[in-house]
Amino acid sequence: MATIEVTGRKASPGVSSITKPVLWSIGLLVFLIVPFLVYPVFLVKMLCFCLFACAFNLLASTTGLLSFGHAAFFGSAAYTAGYAAKAWGVPFEVAVAIGTMTGFALGLIIGFISVRRQGLYFAMITLALAQLVYFLAFQLPFTHADDGLSGIPRGYLLGFLSLDDNLVMYYTTLIICIVGLAVTYRIVNSPFGSILRAIRDNQPRAISLGYSVDKYKIMVFALSAAMSGTAGALKAIALGLATVYDLHWAVSGDVLVMALLGGTQTLLGPIVGAILVTVLHDYLAESGLPVPVLIGTTFVLCILLFRDGIVGELKRRLRL
């Protein structure tokens, strides 16, 4: 399993210099071929959750803050993007941009309130704020409360490629996800990312060096929220559906579980976690097995036995 160190530390030389690009290429190839083998709409949904988990992890890996309220960004972006596409008939690109901006704006607000506290309190506050957004959505007229917003049109990519073709939808989503991953990588390995890690590792010191730590935290929080918004917008457009359930804290819990199962200190971890959880949800749903119990058990084992997540653990074992 090839991964890029979030910390920027070079892995053991020799092995990785050749192995990594090869493994990355194989991974990419799998993603290019898989829609011919598996139902593409399911894969699009899976990719949306991959992007969502990466967005969550952008915050978690750089600041160490675990948000329990990321569904707020995912769900509200699903609504605004869906509403813009359906009611105003805006093109696909604009709808996704609107969703992303929704996530960013909401991220600024929730970030401003929540980054004042850390650890447990941060978790509880994000959870409560997201629940506030959830109840708010029930009151707003355009959310249609329990019924949700359905029949959202997919439209055309760049004005001429019909996204109603599931394969076009899939590859479009794949490209956006790869861009999202690249952006995450850039942010994490930028001077901005270094400052965030400095704050994470020693906040008093960062303050004494003159950094306004809250501003940095709010910024990365909003960026993470924006990318969650992109994921939510894509999901709403691809599935043609936005519901208040997208805003429910169960979704926040899901994305948290995905990121931690995969490993928060790796770039690939959240993706592996997201694939694992969505596949379990979809393929075991009909088997009659209690899927949440299975996922919960895996998560508990992960917390107790391999805190670095699946990818983190594999990397350690294989010394990649």
Partner: protein, 289 residues
């Protein structure tokens, strides 16, 4: 605005407040002793309601016996979980506890949905508490008054035991400095197990009380815990009495909001939390751990 309506919502607010208080109290005790924020507290509340329903359906055990037996069963479940799983995450990293209990929440809730299905089950109000008192200006349903009274009684008793008795002193000592308390020959791990069992039993007790009021369903506790989190953020996790008072007053505020601005009743506690955070980031009784 009629007085009748107002006092009716005041009672509803007090009932919700009592449930919040029982859950927040359990949360505070568990956090104080174990350093764990138990997000599964809502699942134990749900389990309490289910156990009382099961006792009635399967064994014909009545409400009054269930009021003791169901919380006991919840406590046993809690103790079993604490002894096998939860004790492994004790330590300076408080986050692990929250994450672990999130996993337990998924498992417990998932199991109940799997076994009992997602539909709600009615639980009859015990015969002695049916009907109500008509005080001319307001009608007081007996069961609701009973719920508030017994909840406040349990909360105050718990507070009294912790603050005024020798058991409470030992508990507080273990909370303050576990290593030194052990050096005095107190079995702190056993105390922690007891504390966890008692904390979840309080949630289970609230569940039994809630069963005749609301219906019994696997997801009944899912959203409740978030409100309790907001309350705890407002009041701070440190103080027992603070948790109870904040819970009751926010319950009443929620009840009144239902009268004056019904759309906002679900949101008002969260809005108050935001306001408190903006003015006093450490919470009203702030003592950060």
């Amino acid at each position: 605005m009629s007085l009748d309506q107002l006092s009716g919502q005041l009672l509803v607010g007090l009932i919700n407040g009592s449930f919040y208080a029982l859950l927040a109290l359990g949360l505070s005790i568990i956090f104080g002793l174990l350093g764990i924020v138990n997000i599964a507290q809502g699942a134990f509340y749900m389990a309490g309601a289910y156990f009382s329903w099961l006792l009635l359906q399967a064994f014909g055990v009545n409400y009054w016996a269930a009021l003791v037996l169901a919380p006991l069963a919840v406590a046993l479940l809690g103790v079993a979980l604490e002894r096998t799983i939860i004790f492994r995450v004790y330590g300076p990293d408080h986050m692990s506890g929250l994450l672990l209990t999130l996993g337990l929440l998924l498992i417990i809730q998932g199991l109940f949905v799997y076994i009992f299905g997602a539909n709600a089950r009615p639980y009859p109000v015990p015969e002695e508490l049916r009907g109500g008192w008509d005080l001319s200006f307001v009608f007081l349903p007996k069961y609701r008054v009973w719920t508030v009274a017994i909840s406040i009684f349990v909360c105050l008793t718990t507070w009294f035991v912790i603050e005024k008795t020798s058991l409470g002193r030992t508990l507080r000592a273990a909370n303050e400095n576990p290593v030194l308390t052990r050096a005095f020959g107190v079995n702190v791990p056993a105390l922690m197990t007891f504390g966890f069992g008692f904390g979840v039993a309080l949630a289970g007790f609230a569940g039994v009380l809630a069963a005749p009021l609301y219906t019994v369903s696997p997801l009944m506790g899912a959203d409740l815990i978030i409100i309790v989190f907001a309350i705890v953020v407002v009041g701070g996790l440190g103080s027992i009495l603070g948790a109870v008072i904040t819970s009751l007053s926010l319950g009443i505020v929620e009840g009144f909001t239902k009268v004056f601005y019904p759309q906002g009743s679900h949101m008002v506690i969260f809005v108050i939390m935001i306001l408190v955070l903006l003015v006093k980031p450490a919470g009203l009784l702030g003592r950060e751990r």
